[in-house]
């Protein structure tokens, strides 16, 4: 995993983007370490405030020259509301970069980026890497409604192969993101699919990829308390290299997992074949 640092970062920009907020933070020593798929864990309250837990956000951009990183977040609760009320010039305690980053194909590859809502945040740095290596990318961006789509223009700047879906049909194709997935994979002859977004969507994408026999990497979002690997709250069942399933931490062993190794149907459960499940028997 990444070697994270903790910094008091200055907010240099905080602005609304559709239904989300774009937050640019300046701090030395972070941007140059960022790889696609890394995230940042931000403290959202004062040092003596009542909200203790850090909020994890995927890093959208990292600019080593400016010593800035950019994250995107949705107001979903007290912590993110507090963050949205901050102002330019305020200081945020940030720990970054965190996580394992995406596995990147070694040569030129055709990659399909599949993102739900602002799940596209970590995919642009990745798309950049892949195109730099002579590969090509396509995008499917989906959301429940048009206002929750993120960065369609940014995707179009990469490639004409951009499909957009909304559940209510308010923009693009009406339906879920998996609706055009198989066709899109075949159209661009995708050798790998990268997916980021809500767990249900990741599961559906991973299932399609398994059926099509295409490699699939997923960036998961699990509730986290610390982001650095000590609290053990962000776990999910994953099949290891040795074939044994274990509860693994999405913050340090992830958040980017091979989609075929995640036991999607068992998230939120303790399947009996999980290592150490026998010891958990109800007494």
């Amino acid at each position: 995993m990444a070697h994270p640092v903790q910094r008091q970062a200055e907010i240099v920009e905080l602005s609304p983007v559709g239904a989300y907020h774009r937050l640019v933070l300046r701090a030395e020593g972070i941007a140059e370490r960022v790889l696609p798929g890394h995230f940042a864990a931000l403290a959202v309250d004062r040092a003596d405030g009542s909200l203790l837990l850090r909020r994890p956000f995927f890093i959208h951009r990292a600019d080593p020259a400016q010593a800035t990183i950019e994250v995107v977040f949705a107001e979903a609760g007290r912590g993110t509301r507090a963050l949205a009320r901050q102002r330019v010039g305020d200081v945020v305690d940030v720990v970054a970069p965190l996580g394992n980053a995406f596995a990147i194909p070694t040569g030129p590859a055709s990659a399909l980026m599949v993102a739900g809502g602002y799940g596209s945040v970590p995919l642009f740095g990745l798309a950049e890497r892949i195109t730099e290596q002579g590969g090509s990318v396509g995008f499917i961006l989906g959301a429940p409604t048009a206002d929750r789509l993120f960065s369609i223009e940014q995707a179009r700047a990469f490639t004409p192969d951009v499909l957009v879906t909304t559940d209510d049909g308010s923009y693009g194709i009406r339906g879920q993101i998996t609706l055009p997935l198989t066709e899109a994979m075949r159209a661009i002859e995708a050798g790998v699919v990268y997916a980021s977004g809500p767990t249900g969507m990741l599961r559906a994408v991973a299932e399609v990829c398994a059926r099509e026999g295409v490699r699939c990497f997923t960036a998961v979002e699990q509730a986290m308390a610390c982001g650095v690997g000590v609290c053990m709250t962000c776990v999910l069942p994953v099949v290891g290299e040795d074939g044994v399933s274990r509860m693994v931490r999405s913050c340090v062993d992830g958040p980017c997992f091979d989609g075929s190794r995640v036991r999607w149907e068992d998230i939120g459960a303790v399947p009996p074949d999980l290592e150490g499940a026998a010891a958990m028997g109800e007494r």
């Binding site: 994270p4 203790l52 837990l53 850090r54 000590v230 939120g268 303790v270 150490g276």
Partner: protein, 340 residues
Amino acid sequence: MTGADRTVFVNTAAASEAGTGAEAAPEAVDLTAPFGGGTLPNPVTTASGCAGYGRELAKFLPLAELGSITTKTIMLAPRSGRATPRMAETAGGMLTGIGLQGSGIEHFVSHELPWLAERGARVLVSVAGERVEEFAACARALNGQPGVVGLELNLSCPNADNRGLVFAANPATSHDVVQAVREVADPTLPVYAKLAPDVTSITDVAKACVRAGADGLSMINTLPGVVIDTDTLRPHLAGTVGGLSGPAIRPVAVGCVYEVHAAMRAGECAAVPILGMGGIRTGLDALEFVLAGASGVAVGTAIFNDPTAPLRVLDELREALAARGFAKLTDAVGLAHHKN
């Protein structure tokens, strides 16, 4: 009361004895902390379950600078832990139900402990079992291993032989665990019993543990609680009941330390060092525990907010002691019990 005008009382007796005047230089404060029958270089450790086995925190602070590092609780066999969600944030804290996930004592001894020992970390190993003999087996596995400075018995583990009631719930079962471990553990290793606050009399449990041979007491474990998700209309944690930790529980924890230390001062319980924990976030929080009677302090949930918290708390405690004229930590231990 206006905070700015508060008088900070200095410990005049300690200050004059050391000949330093009212305020000592922070670096001159002797932080040597009683630990079992011996000492540690300073009083700060990590609270079990909040620092893993040290690897992650080592990226943020040199583990050897802490008095010790207390591991996540280790049991005999690997445990998957509970299903998710395992956590809910609460005002000034959090509710967690991890289910003691871990790879088991064998894996710890072969993979984690050598790494810790190489870094010069002094390791207080937290162990638990579902039966008395499982605690003892863990203790036996740690005998002669490098880096281990003591054992902490997590008595808040369900007792398979008593309808799943935790060992810490009553003096007799707590006594049995401590006695069994004390019998097999390396006699040079202090054995600490970690007590639960949700009991009729924590002093009675403390007395039973000390009688059974505990060399120290860790206080407190989390408080049981439930958070209901008002969107799903169901308990938020997969395991329903979780343990409440964080600054919200600090007065409960300080109260427990105060009560047990008072019993020791009164001679009702043999005096052993107390390791205080529960919501410590700053040096002044730690000082509260010290004044209540703790000679060591553990930083737990605050780590999730600030991974450098244990070292920061140590620095702040040193400064707070110096500012109050204490030449050494031990002069402050239990001082709140003094009548004048």
